[in-house]
C-alpha cells in the first residue's frame, strides 16, 4: 500500500467514526456538527474560506521566514562568540517561556491590527525550536573532523562553513520541522486578539453566530494548510540533507 493511502484510510476511518457518533448519539449541531455538514458548508463557502486562508497562509509563511532567519542568526552567533552565548541564551529561554496568548494583546496595540502582529507572533513561536536545534547541532560537531581541518590549516570561518554548518543541518532540520508544525498557532493567536481577516477571525465570527459547522470548516482548512506546509518543508529538508542516512527504528526491533 502506498505511503499516501495509509494515512488517508486512517483519516477517512476517523471521519466515519465521527459521523457515526453524531448520528447515533443525536448530538446537537451547535455542539458538534457531523463531517458531512462541515464539508457541505466548506463547499458552499469555498470563496470566503479561500480568501481568509490566503491571509493566514501569508502570515504563516512570513513568520516562518523571519523566525528561521532570526533563529539561524542567533544560533550562529551563540556558537561562534562565547560572549553572545551568555547574552542570548536567557532571551532564548524567555522567548519560549512567555505564553504568546498573554503577549498577543500588547503586540497588537504596538503593531496595529494589520499583518505585522501576526507575523511577530508566528516568528516568536518558532524562534526557539529553530535556534535551540541549530545551536545544539553546531555545538556537537564531531571533534575529529575539526581536529583534522585544523591540522590541515583551515581557517575558523572555513571550518564553520565547510564542516560545522553542514554537520548541524540534520539537527536544524528537526528544529524547522517543529517550527513548521507550530507556526500556524502563532498566526491564529494573532488573529484571535485582533484582525479583520484570516481563518482565526472567521472562526471567532462563526462561533459568535453559532455557525459551528462553518467554524469547523475553517478549522479543517487550517489543518490541511498546516499539513501541506509541514510536508513541503519536510521534503525540502530531506533533499538538503540527502547525505544523512536514515535508520528505520522499526527495523531493529
Amino acid at each position: 500500500m502506498s505511503a499516501i493511502a495509509k494515512p488517508l484510510i486512517v483519516f477517512l476511518g476517523l471521519l466515519c467514526l465521527w459521523q457515526g457518533a453524531v448520528t447515533v448519539f443525536e448530538i446537537a449541531p451547535f455542539i458538534l456538527p457531523g463531517p458531512l455538514a462541515v464539508i457541505e458548508v466548506a463547499i458552499a463557502r469555498a470563496d470566503t474560506l479561500a480568501e481568509h486562508a490566503g491571509t493566514t497562509l501569508v502570515e504563516i509563511l512570513l513568520g516562518l521566514a523571519f523566525g528561521t532567519l532570526l533563529g539561524c542568526a542567533s544560533a550562529l552567533m551563540m556558537a561562534y562568540f562565547r560572549q553572545a552565548r551568555s547574552w542570548l541564551l536567557p532571551v532564548l529561554v524567555v522567548s519560549q517561556a512567555i505564553p504568546v496568548f498573554a503577549l498577543a494583546p500588547v503586540l497588537v496595540l504596538w503593531f496595529g491590527y494589520g499583518i505585522a502582529p501576526k507575523i511577530a507572533m508566528a516568528t516568536l513561536i518558532i524562534y526557539f525550536p529553530v535556534t535551540a536545534a541549530f545551536y545544539d547541532g553546531l555545538r556537537r560537531t564531531e571533534p575529529g573532523w575539526i581536529d583534522l581541518a585544523q591540522t590541515m590549516g583551515a581557517s575558523k570561518a572555513a571550518i564553520l562553513r565547510q564542516i560545522r554548518i553542514p554537520a548541524a543541518l540534520p539537527a536544524f532540520a528537526s528544529g524547522l520541522r517543529v517550527a513548521a508544525a507550530v507556526a500556524p498557532i502563532g498566526a491564529v493567536v494573532g488573529e484571535w486578539v485582533g484582525s479583520s481577516a484570516g481563518l482565526g477571525y472567521y472562526m471567532l465570527l462563526m462561533n459568535g453566530r453559532v455557525q459551528t459547522a462553518a467554524m469547523f470548516a475553517a478549522l479543517f482548512v487550517l489543518a490541511i494548510m498546516a499539513v501541506a506546509i509541514y510536508f513541503a518543508i519536510d521534503a525540502t529538508l530531506r533533499r538538503l540533507v540527502a547525505w544523512q542516512p536514515e535508520a528505520d527504528p522499526a527495523a531493529f526491533s
Binding site: F30, I31, V108, L109, G208, V210
Partner: protein
C-alpha cells in the same frame, strides 16, 4: 485550552446540580455593575428566602454561556437579546425567561476630540468590535440611515480591547462599547469618549441583558422564584443605591474602585424594574430587523423563544 478546562470544571461541578433548589447561573462577562441585582439578591438573602441556592459563575468567553445552558451544563445564563435571535435561528433550544437590563447599553464610541461628528463621518474609517456575531448588523443599520454601507468602513475584531484600541488610536471608533462602562473607563484614563446611541441611530431598541433557560425548563418553579428574587433586589437597588453598592462590593474588594462606582451610578436607571415582563412587540420588531439585515432567515413566533414566567 482555558475554555476547555473551564468547560471540564463546569461539567464536574454542575452535573450533580439536580438537587431541587440549586441553580447555576452563568454571567455574560466578568463581574461588573451590570450584574448588580444578582449580587444584591445574593447578599440580601433574596434567593435563600425563596429556597434557592444560587451559584453565579463568570465565563471564560462571553459567547459560551447560552451554549452551556442549551447543552444542559448550567441552568440559566445572562445573555443578550440580539444574540438570542441568532442562537434560536441556529437551533439552540433557548427561552428568554427574564430581563436584567431593558435598554441597549451598547453604543458606538469615538474619542471626544475625534473629527467624527456624525455617523456619516465614518466613511473610510476603522471600526473595532468584539465578536458577538451581530455587530455588523447594528453598524450596518446605523450606516444605512446616513447613506453609507458596511463596505465604506473597515470592521476589525479587537476582541476584549475595545477601549484600549480606541485610546491608542488603532481604530477610529468602536461598536459594542457600553455607555455605562467603557465611557467611564476612558474618562478615567484621561482619553474621554463620545457615544452614538444605537437606538437613536436606526437600530430598534432591545433588551441588552436577558436571562435565558433551556426551553424545556422554562416552567421550572425555581425560575419564577429566581425572577421574583431579582425583582425584589432591583427595587432595593433603586430605593437604596448606596446601601446596595456596599452589598455589591461586600467580600469582593477588588470591585471597589472609581470605575465601578461610576458605572454603578450610570447603570441603576437601566435595570428592568419588572424583570419578568416581556414586550413581545419589541422582540418581534427586532427579529424582523435582523431578518431585514440578512442575519436570520425566518421570523419565528415570539412565544417559541421568550415567555413571561408565572
Amino acid at each position: 485550552m482555558k475554555r476547555l478546562l473551564f468547560a471540564l470544571a463546569l461539567t464536574l461541578s454542575a452535573s450533580p446540580a439536580s438537587a431541587a433548589d440549586k441553580l447555576t447561573v452563568m454571567l455574560d462577562w466578568f463581574i461588573n455593575p451590570d450584574h448588580g441585582p444578582l449580587y444584591v439578591a445574593l447578599e440580601r438573602g433574596e434567593f435563600e428566602k425563596r429556597g434557592l441556592e444560587v451559584e453565579l459563575i463568570p465565563p471564560a468567553d462571553p459567547n459560551d454561556p447560552p451554549k452551556l445552558v442549551a447543552a444542559g451544563r448550567a441552568d440559566l445564563a445572562i445573555s443578550y437579546q440580539p444574540q438570542l435571535h441568532l442562537q434560536v435561528a441556529a437551533g439552540l433550544p433557548l427561552m428568554r425567561i427574564g430581563t436584567l437590563v431593558a435598554t441597549p447599553l451598547s453604543s458606538l464610541v469615538v474619542l471626544a476630540d475625534s473629527p467624527i461628528k456624525s455617523i456619516s463621518d465614518l466613511k473610510g474609517r476603522k471600526v473595532g468590535f468584539s465578536v458577538g456575531g451581530f455587530e455588523d448588523a447594528l453598524l450596518g443599520a446605523m450606516l444605512d440611515k446616513h447613506g453609507l454601507t458596511l463596505d465604506d468602513v473597515e470592521l476589525i475584531n479587537v476582541n476584549f480591547s475595545l477601549s484600549p484600541s480606541l485610546m491608542s488610536g488603532q481604530v477610529d471608533a468602536v461598536i459594542g462599547a457600553y455607555r455605562n462602562f467603557e465611557l467611564n473607563q476612558m474618562d478615567l484614563e484621561g482619553r474621554p469618549g463620545r457615544a452614538f446611541y444605537l437606538e437613536e441611530e436606526g437600530v430598534p431598541a432591545y433588551d441588552e441583558l436577558i436571562v435565558v433557560a433551556k426551553r424545556e425548563n422554562a416552567s421550572d418553579p425555581r425560575i419564577s422564584a429566581f425572577i421574583d428574587a431579582l425583582e425584589a433586589a432591583t427595587q432595593y437597588m433603586i430605593n437604596h443605591p448606596d446601601a446596595a453598592w456596599e452589598l455589591f462590593i461586600k467580600g469582593r474588594k477588588d470591585l471597589d474602585d472609581e470605575l465601578n462606582r461610576r458605572a454603578w451610578r450610570d447603570t441603576i436607571p437601566r435595570f428592568a424594574l419588572r424583570p419578568a415582563a416581556l414586550d413581545s412587540g419589541r422582540y418581534q420588531a427586532f427579529a424582523e430587523f435582523l431578518k431585514g439585515r440578512g442575519m436570520i432567515e425566518t421570523v419565528p413566533p415570539v412565544e417559541s423563544y421568550a415567555v413571561e414566567v408565572r
